[in-house]
Every structure is written in structure tokens, then in C-alpha cells.
Subunit: 474 residues, 2 copies
């Protein structure tokens, strides 16, 4: 997937700032082997899961501490050289690309769980800890961290993009689950936002200003998160439906009734086939909802019965249950691998992923028309959705050697986003703006709000060195 | 309570900016009878429920529309005259005081519920709608809005102070429940933040930057809120305990177990007596927890049983149940009136209210030592707490003619806040910083973070006209 191809988006020409040798020398002097200018290393840090391409950064600093990050920023500042934080590289929106040149600050070695406060349901981690690592390390506490984007992303990256995933319908997103941060600002100063208190009215909510700022206001060097007790009972169910519409209408009713469902994921029939092939599953080849219920044994039973009643009204088949942890893991792994399953279904293809999110009552309107358009286009696609949140992803699977396909896909995406915005939704539920959605952001929020964002950015980062060229142009 | 007394805090001398006659003339010309310079009106708008006093604003504009607010701000701007939004005047921290002079923008006439989207569990309201009015107007939808500070506050004011209340332990605070805002900025421009989508990664989280900004970054003119289905079953219970410690330890265990309790309020024995006298209740004169359970009938039963088991381990008495809506309303009204009950218990007194919030495991440490100190001081006090969130309020009841009492109370508060901060908590869980906690904010969050707040403030409000002198000095 990584070799540049004809399909690759070239980032519109922007000023590639000079990275003077003096800075590289200073970085080498300060960081020694922790600083690399090897082409392979730079190239690996100059791309992500998006289809954008830009020249790689001039150097990569492998930070091992907050002080490392602060020093790298302080060294880059006087030269107005951009610094771009890097976690595991799983961004889908070009966040990691050095579109204006600069240096990459890789925080993957900052991967310690610093403090588990099981009794308070909080944990403090370094930004390079991944979500799976975190859950592995806190296993013995009986707690878990629910936010699960498809990739095994870093917690720092997840905070920076305001990520969510399949559990958000019940547990919220990074917005609700980050309690406090340590951040290196553009001046290289280390600040703390928030405390471990569950709520606070102490001044501006800097935590939530930083969450979702995509590295443009600071580098996140520590994250305090909320945890949740592992539910006493968990059950997962699959229910297939005669149509996507039936699955969607079931979801809408479940949410409107206030059922505290933990996960409700739509998988369309294309994607069911891809997942079956990739993960060797035997899912019935119909649109389906993958669901999970958390609670007490009685509560889980009650939720499942309610949902089953609703589903059968819409022609859903009887639930198939995944009751053992192993079966559940297999199911959810398959869901998380849908992206890779889809890529593999069309060898050599690249995917353009959409990320609209609409109020739940608008979900059918938004989704069904977009399915009809995608079907009519003839372009293969996958469709998965965190439908309980009104969020879904089309992945258009494109032949990289056919520029017309990209054009068609971009046109589909454009129609979809326009529809979502008209339905009072957002162009991005969880992936972030990055390079791909800057125009959509203006349409969505209005020029005034984006100007206000710019004003904040200019005030906090006067030299525009923090991951410049993302979210909005300056 | 409103006549200045010997006890009144005089706001430290600050520059009272001139309000030129030309501005008053322009306001009169634009707003006619909607603009008042009558002393009584100005005085009413120049104070709140805090014990601070400052000269009243020079004029009050009764805004009836967003355009009114924008025009008032635009008129004041060129003169660098402060504008201070006013809802119902229930702030406890001096937010409404014209400490640098200026004009008050009263939004209480902007009190329309603009759009109920029951199918999406959202509602959009003008800022002057109060929380009780909102719940009254959405009654027929089967939904409710859970955030309930003691006062019947305005939704705009609640957003501005990031308010919460008794239901926050289950439903979150204004931070989690405001989806989108319309805001008039310092330049008089109208911007929108957020959409009705449940989640979004679209750029900086301006919604949460504005929530809790205490009017210092803009005037909130529209608020979109999350609503919740009225639970199928509700039951409220009172449980009294041999000691505060027993009540607190019960709470800690309930939270740590992840019981989704909807409300768990501590009332100390002083306050029980006050509430009994005020509301003519016959509550047993012991420390007690007032609890509420929301869910399905079976779920509520299950929660209650779990909590009852825990309570009895700590010597709690059998639950007394309030099962009818009327009984429950009576109970919660009594809780909400605790402040007024306390004030009445010492005729002529004034209260200084504390607002610390700590991680749940630190609650006993924070609370019990502070109770001992308050008892030793001899000053009458009430003590109520949203203990499920680690948040509680002492109200020291002071003789306004005895400056020594205030000194003692401030010393108690200082000790309490220092203790809470050392325990990784916050100086304010839900009341805001206002005038009273500026120094505490610096201690809590560090000079660097407060400087970052100042930088944002200066960038968004270069003339410092939006409710200046609150949260931090500039």
C-alpha cells in the first residue's frame, strides 16, 4: 500500500520550509542515535494510511521523555521548522505528512503506563501506549478502556484526533474519556490541563481544546483517561436483515428507546462477503448488525430481548449469539479488520474512506441515498458503521491506475458530505480533518468559526510550527 | 441578603472603565425601552448569590434576539466598554459583577425552546430558558434534561459555568451535554460551534472552549443540548448512617463497583436539621445519603439491592423509599433548597460556599479532615455533596457583622482547597472560578496553563470587553 502510485493524492503545492543543517546538527548533538535522517526512517514517518503523499520530514526524533519532546520543539522553534508528532502512523487523513517540511517527533518509545488508579477508574499513560497494550496492562484490575478505533492506535494519536470506535455509543469518545493532559506547547513549555477529578469548572477547558487539535496546538506527552469496570456480563449477537434500511431502522429505534447498548455496528452485504473471505467466517451474506450488551446478567438479558423484539419487527432474523470471550473476540477482530479485508478483496486497490456522522433520526436518509449512489457508480466499496452514533464509513476501493475512479469516488464523497451537513451532521465523526476535509470544515462550521480556530492557532503558535497545514490553511 | 453589609467582600480596586454618554445614547437609540439605566435595575444586575460587591453596571440591555446581543457588543466595542451576560443571577462566584464597569446584557427574555428533536434526543434553546422551564416544555416528549444546579438557573449561565448538579454522576455535566452553541464573539460576530451530530472530529472543540468560559470569550445566544429518555422506572431512597465516614465509604464502593446510580447525595446532620425545619420533613437526624436509581424495573431493583448491601456493611439503616413522583419531588426539592434552609437557620447570615472535587478514592481523606476543622472552628455550617462525583460543598454561615468569622471561614476554605489540590482534585467542581478562585486556579493548573488561557483570551477579545476580571487577571 505504501509505494506511490498513479492514484496517490499529491498534496497541493505548499511552501516546503528549509530545514537548516544547523538544526540537524543541533538535533544530532542533543539526541544522538535517537535522531535519524535515514531516508527509510524519514519515509516511514512521512506517510500514514491516507492516500496523500508529500516529501518526507528532514529528520525523525525518537522521543523517550517529555523533556525530549520539549527540547526538540525548542530547537526547531528558532528556525520556524515544523514539528509533527507521530504515534503508530494509523491516521487516515494525512495528519502525519510533512506538507511544509520539518521534523517528525516519534513518541512510540514513550510507551509506559505511568499510574493506574483502579480505585478511581483512571489511568495515566505516555502517548505512545497503544489501546491494546493499555487494556493488556490493566487486565488484572478488572477495568478496561473502551475506545477502539479500527487500528491499534496510540493513545496520544487517539487524543489528537478525538477518536472513537465501536464502543462510543455507550462509553463516549476521547472527548468524554480524556480527563487531563500534559502538553508541550509551541514554545517548548510543558503545561498540564485538568486534574484527576471527574468534573471541574476551573477555567477554560484546555483538555478538550487539545483533544482533536491534531497536533496543531501542541504535542501531547501524557494522557489521563477514564476507565470502566469490566461488565459483569457481556453478550454479543449478530442479526441479519433483509435490507440495510431494516438494519438502520432497528438501530434508530434502539437508540431512541434509550437502550444502553454497548456496540451496534452495521456491516453491509459487500463487507460481510469480504470479512468472510478474509477471516474465514461463515456470516450469513446479508446486511447485518453486530451488537454487544454490557451489564448485569439480568440487564444484559433485558436489553437483548428489547433489541430482539425491535429487530424482528423490521424482519431481522433470530440473533446468533457469541457467548464465549473467544467467539466475541473473533467477531470483533473481524469487524476491526473489515478495512484490511476490503483492501484485500481488490488486490492492488486503495481505499478512500468517508466519515460522516448525523443525528440518529437522519441516519436512514443519509445512508440509503448514499448506498444507491455508490451502487450506481459501479465502484466496489465496503460499508461499515457505528450506526448507534449515526456515524458510518464507506470505503471506495479504487484501482490506483484509473484516475477516473478517484474522480468518481471523490464525487460520491462530496455528495455524501453535503447530504450529511444538510441533515445537521458533521463531515468527520472520528477521523479528523487532516488534509482531506479542510473545505468541508468551512462548509460545516462556517467561515467565522474556522477564523476563530485560526486566531487561536496563531496566538498559541505564532510561528506556525506545530503540524502546520492541517485542519485549515493559515 | 442583598443589602451591602459589613461582611461584604469589596472587590479589590480595579480600573472602572468609563462608560461614555455617547454609548448610553447609542444604546438608548438602538434599544429604546429594552435598555435601562434605572439604578434599581442596574443594582439588580450588578450582583449575584456571592458575597462580593462592586458598583453596578452603567446600563442593562434586555436582549430579545441574537441580533440584539450582537448589536450591544458592537456598540460597546469601540469604547472598550465591558459587556456582562446575565441569565437569572444565580452565580455563586461573582460572575455577574461589573468589576471593571460596563453594561449588563440580560438574556432572560431570550427564553424560547427553539427546536425539540425528540427522535434525536436533542433540543435547541435560547440562553434565558431555565432548567425547570425546559423540563416543563419537553414533558410530553418522554425526555428530560438532567443537569440540575441548586438554583433554577438559565441554560446559558449553566453552559457558561460548566454547571452540573445531582444527576451528574450518571448523566455528566454541561461539558458532556452541550452539543452545539451559537455565540456572539467580542467583535459582535455570530458563530456556530458544533452540529447536532452526537460526535465529531471537525476541528477545534470550540463548543467546549466556550462551555465554562464564564462569559469571557463570548455571549452564548443558543444552546443545543442532549436529552435522555425518562427512565422506565425511578426509585429514590434515603439511608442514614452512624457517621459521615460510613456514608462516604458506602458511596466510594458504589462508584468503584460501577453501579449506574443516578444520584447519590450526602447531607450531613447539621443540614438534615436545617432541611427538616425549612421543608417540614421528618428526616432522621443522622448523616444520610439521598439516592436515586434509574432504569428498567428489574435494573432499578438490582441497583438498589447492591447499594443496600454495601450500605449495610457500613452500618447504614434500611432504606426508606420514596416511590411516588410526589414524594420524590418533595425530597429533591428539599435537597435543592438546602442552601436556603441553611441561610434561614441563622437569620441574617451570609454563606461562603466551597466547591472542591476530588477523585473518588480521596473523598474520605478530603472530606473528613475538613469536617473536623469546620467543627473545631465553631462556625455554623451546612455540608452537602454530590459525593458520587467526589464533589461537595461546605457552606459556612457567617455573621456579617463579625469580620473575624469571615477570616476563619476563608482560612477553612483555603485549607480545604489546598487539601483537595494535594489529592489531585480541583478547587471548583461546578461553580466556576469567577472572582473568588483566581489564585486557587493558578495553584491548581500551574502558571503555564493559566498563561495559555490568557493568550487565548487576548487573541479572541483584544480589548478585553467580554466579562473582564473573571477567571484570571489580565
Amino acid at each position: 500500500m505504501n509505494a506511490p502510485t498513479a492514484l496517490t493524492h499529491l498534496v497541493p503545492e505548499v511552501h516546503q520550509r528549509a530545514v537548516p543543517q544547523a538544526l540537524l546538527d543541533a538535533l544530532k548533538a542533543r539526541f544522538g542515535a535517537q535522531c535519524s535522517t535515514a531516508l527509510a526512517v524519514r519515509e516511514q514517518h512521512g506517510r500514514d494510511e491516507s492516500s496523500f503523499e508529500a516529501p518526507p520530514p528532514a529528520a525523525v526524533v525518537f522521543a523517550q521523555s517529555t523533556q525530549d519532546v520539549a527540547d526538540a520543539v525548542k530547537l526547531a522553534g528558532p528556525y520556524s521548522v515544523p514539528v509533527i508528532p507521530f504515534g503508530v502512523g494509523s491516521s487516515l487523513e494525512g495528519h502525519l505528512l510533512a506538507v511544509q517540511g520539518g521534523i517528525s517527533i516519534d513518541v512510540s518509545r514513550m510507551n509506559k503506563v505511568l499510574a493506574i488508579h483502579a480505585e478511581d477508574l483512571t489511568v495515566t499513560v505516555q502517548p505512545g501506549v497503544t489501546r491494546k497494550q493499555l487494556n493488556e496492562e490493566i487486565k488484572s484490575t478488572g477495568l478496561f478502556f473502551p475506545i477502539d478505533p479500527g487500528a491499534d492506535a496510540s493513545i496520544g494519536g487517539m487524543a489528537a484526533t478525538r477518536a472513537s470506535g465501536t464502543n462510543a455509543v455507550r462509553y463516549g469518545t476521547m472527548r468524554e474519556n480524556v480527563l487531563a493532559l500534559e502538553v508541550v506547547t509551541a514554545s517548548g513549555e510543558v503545561i498540564r490541563t485538568g486534574t484527576r477529578a471527574k468534573k471541574s469548572s476551573a477555567g477554560y477547558d484546555l483538555t478538550r481544546l487539545m483533544v482533536g487539535s491534531e497536533g496543531t496546538l501542541g504535542v501531547i506527552t501524557e494522557v489521563t483517561l477514564r476507565l470502566y469496570p469490566l461488565p459483569e456480563a457481556v453478550s454479543a449477537a449478530i442479526c441479519s436483515f433483509p435490507s440495510i434500511e431494516a438494519a438502520v431502522r432497528t438501530t434508530i429505534q434502539v437508540i431512541q428507546l434509550g437502550v444502553p447498548i454497548a456496540r451496534v455496528e452495521l456491516i453491509d452485504v459487500n463487507t460481510v462477503r469480504m470479512v468472510n473471505a478474509y477471516a474465514k467466517l461463515g456470516l450469513r451474506e446479508e446486511p447485518l448488525l453486530l451488537m454487544e450488551f454490557h451489564g448485569s446478567p439480568a440487564g444484559v438479558k433485558e436489553q437483548a430481548e428489547t433489541v430482539q423484539d425491535i429487530a424482528s419487527e423490521f424482519g431481522g432474523n433470530a440473533f446468533e449469539w457469541a457467548t464465549t470471550p473467544e467467539e466475541r473476540t473473533r467477531l470483533w477482530t473481524a469487524r476491526h479488520n473489515a478495512y484490511f479485508a476490503a483492501i484485500q478483496s481488490r488486490p492492488g486497490c486503495r481505499a478512500i474512506s468517508t466519515d460522516t456522522c448525523v443525528p440518529i433520526s437522519r441516519l436512514a436518509d443519509c445512508l440509503l441515498d448514499s448506498v444507491a449512489e455508490a451502487d450506481a457508480s459501479g465502484i466496489p466499496y465496503f460499508l461499515v458503521g457505528h450506526v448507534g452514533d449515526g456515524n458510518f464509513h464507506f470505503g471506495y476501493l479504487l484501482d490506483p491506475n484509473d484516475p477516473k475512479e478517484r474522480e468518481v469516488a471523490e464525487a460520491l464523497n462530496h455528495k455524501l458530505v453535503s447530504r450529511a451537513l444538510a441533515l445537521e451532521g458533521t463531515c468527520t465523526g472520528e477521523h479528523g480533518v487532516g488534509l482531506h476535509k479542510m473545505d468541508f470544515l468551512v462548509t460545516e462550521t462556517g467561515a467565522g468559526a474556522v477564523d476563530l480556530m485560526r486566531t487561536i492557532k496563531r496566538a498559541l503558535d505564532p510561528q506556525n510550527i506545530m503540524n502546520p497545514g492541517k485542519i485549515f490553511s493559515l
